[in-house]
Amino acid sequence: MANSSTRFSARLLIERSVATLIIGLVFFWLAINLVKSPSQFFQSSIIGISNGVLYALIALGYTLVYGIIELINFAHGDLFMLGGLFAATFITVWFKQETPSNTGYAVFFLCLIAAMGFCATINVGIERFAYRRLRKAPKLAPLITAVGVSFIIQFIGIRWNGSGPKTWNSVLPSGEFTISSVHIPYTTVISFLVTIPLLIFMTFIVAKTRRGKAMRATAQDADAARLMGINVNKTISFTFALGGALAGAAGLLFQQTRGLTNYNLGYQLGLIAFTSAVLGGIGNLSGAVLGAILIGLIQGLNDGLPIGLGQQWSQTVVFTILILLMVFKPTGLLGKPMVEKV
C-alpha cells in the first residue's frame, strides 16, 4: 500500500515537472522573441488572435452539440464552408457588390443575418433528418452518419463552387492602420466587431434565458429535463440552430476577409476548430473560446516570429501541443471530470 502510493506520487512528481518544464520552455521562447523584435511579436499576436476568434465561432458549434447530445458533429466544419459559399453568392452574385461602399457595408450586414439564418436552418435540418432517429442508437451510428453528412455537404460544395478554390473581391475596406509599427488591417477590426458581440450574445442566451436554461438542463440529464416539462427535441433543435448560426457568421467573415472559397475549407478549419474545442474541454463553452484563441495565437506566433518553426510546421506545433495537453490533462483546459453521486 505504502509502496504503491509512493510510486504514484513519484509519477505525479515527474508529470508535474515535465509539464512545468514544457511551459517554461514556451515562455522562454516567447520572451526571447519579444526582446528580439517586439513589433513582430505584437503583429503576430494580432494576426493569431483574429484567426482565433474565427476558430472560436466554429469551435462553439462543436462544443454546443457535444454538450447536449454527446455527438462529434463532423459535418459542422463543412457547414462553415457552405456559409462562405452562401456569402459569396449573396454579396457578389445576387447583390453584385465587389468594392467597399456604403451599399457594400449594408449588404455585408444583411448577409451576416442571412448567412446565420441559412446555416442555422441547414443544421436544424441535419439534426432532424440524420441524427434524431439515431439518438438512442449506439454512439458509433450517429458518428458515422455525421461523417456521411460531411461528405454530402462537401459534394454540394463542389457542385456549387467547383473543384478548385475561387477568389472573390471583398466589400470590406482593404487598408490598415499602424500603432507604433504594428499594422492592424481594417478587416481584423471588423472581424472583432462581428465576433465579440456574437460571443457575448451567445453567452447571454445560454446563461440567462429560459431557452438557455433548458439547454443546460437537457445537457446534464435529458430525461430529468423532460420531467421538468422541457421539450427536449425542441431544445436540441435550438442548440443546432445556435451552432449553425455561428458557423454561418464564420463562413461570411472568412470569405470576406480572405476572399476565398473552396469545398474543402470546412475540413481544414473544422479540424482546427474541433481541436480548439477539445483543447478547451469539449462541452465547455468558455473552454472552446479559450482553446480557439490559444490555437490561433500559437499558430500566429509560430508563423510570424523571427525564432520559430515557420508556417510549414504550423499544424505540427498545434497538434503536438494538443497531444501534450491530453497526456497531462485529458479533460482539456477547463473541462472537469464529472463525479457521479448515486
Binding site: 446534464q220 423532460r226 421538468m228
Partner: protein, 234 residues
C-alpha cells in the same frame, strides 16, 4: 383522478408490465410496493411519458394521456421526483428549483410555492447557492421532491424517496410526504420500504414481476400475512 387500465410496457422483447390496472383518487396517497424489478419505476416512467406503453390506457382527469410526450404530461399537472433523484448536479439548488417551475408563468404563485418548499425542507434554504451535485444524498432527495413540488402538481409521483437514506432521514421524508398530502396534493408513491409506505398511504397495490398481486386499504395490507411475510420481514 388517475386511472390505469390493462397497461402493458415492454423493453424490447421483455415484458416489464403485464397488463396492470390501478386507480388514484383525488386527495389520496396511494402506494405501489414490491421488490426490485417488479416494474414499479417502469409504471411511473410510463405515466410521465418517458416510456411509451405497448397497450392499455392511462386516463388523467378524464383525458387519455398514454403515449403523450413527457413535457406535455407535466403541463397537465403530473410531476415526478424520479428514482435516483436525477437532480441537475452542475446547477445550484436555486436553479434546480427554478427548473421545477419551468412551464409556469405565474410569478406570485411560484414565489409562494418556493416559500412552501423551503419551509418543508429548511436544509435547502441553507444550501440555496450550492451546486446540487455537491450535496449529500438526503439533501439531494429533498431537492428532488422540492423540485417536483415547484411544478405545482395535481398529482405528485414519488419514486423511491427513501432509497439510500439514513433511518432518521427516512422518517423525516415520510412525515413530509404526509404533510404535502395534507396540503392538498394527491400522491402516487413507489417504495421498497413497504412498511413505511403502508403507514402513510391510504391505499396500496402490491406489484410482483409486472402484475398486481394484491390491492386494498393500506392498513389492511399491513396486517395481511402474505404481505408481512414477503415485504415486511415478518
Amino acid at each position: 383522478m388517475l386511472k390505469i387500465e390493462n397497461l402493458e410496457v415492454t423493453y424490447g422483447n421483455i415484458k416489464a408490465i403485464k397488463g396492470i390496472s390501478l386507480e388514484v383518487n383525488q386527495g389520496e396517497i396511494v402506494t405501489l410496493i414490491g421488490s426490485n424489478g417488479a416494474g414499479k419505476s417502469t409504471t411511473l416512467r410510463t405515466i410521465s411519458g418517458i416510456l411509451k406503453p405497448k397497450s392499455g390506457s392511462i386516463t388523467f382527469n378524464g383525458e387519455r394521456i398514454e403515449g403523450v410526450e413527457g413535457h406535455e404530461i407535466v403541463a397537465k399537472g403530473i410531476c415526478q421526483s424520479p428514482e435516483g433523484r436525477r437532480i441537475f448536479p452542475k446547477m445550484t439548488v436555486d436553479e434546480n428549483l427554478d427548473l421545477g417551475a419551468f412551464l409556469r408563468n405565474d410569478k406570485a404563485e411560484i414565489k409562494r410555492d418556493r416559500q412552501r418548499v423551503l419551509e418543508l425542507f429548511p436544509k435547502l434554504q441553507e444550501r440555496i447557492d450550492q451546486k446540487a451535485g455537491t450535496m449529500s444524498g438526503g439533501e439531494q432527495q429533498m431537492l428532488a421532491v422540492g423540485r417536483a413540488l415547484m411544478g405545482s402538481p395535481k398529482l405528485l409521483l414519488l419514486d423511491e424517496p427513501s432509497m439510500g437514506l439514513a433511518p432518521v432521514l427516512v422518517e423525516m421524508i415520510f412525515e413530509t410526504i404526509k404533510k404535502i398530502n395534507d396540503q392538498g396534493t394527491t400522491i402516487l408513491l413507489v417504495e421498497q420500504n413497504a412498511l413505511a409506505a403502508l403507514n402513510v398511504a391510504d391505499r396500496a397495490y402490491v406489484l410482483e414481476s409486472g402484475s398486481i398481486k394484491m390491492s386494498g386499504k393500506a392498513r389492511d395490507l399491513i396486517s395481511n400475512d402474505e404481505v408481512t411475510k414477503a415485504y415486511l420481514g415478518g
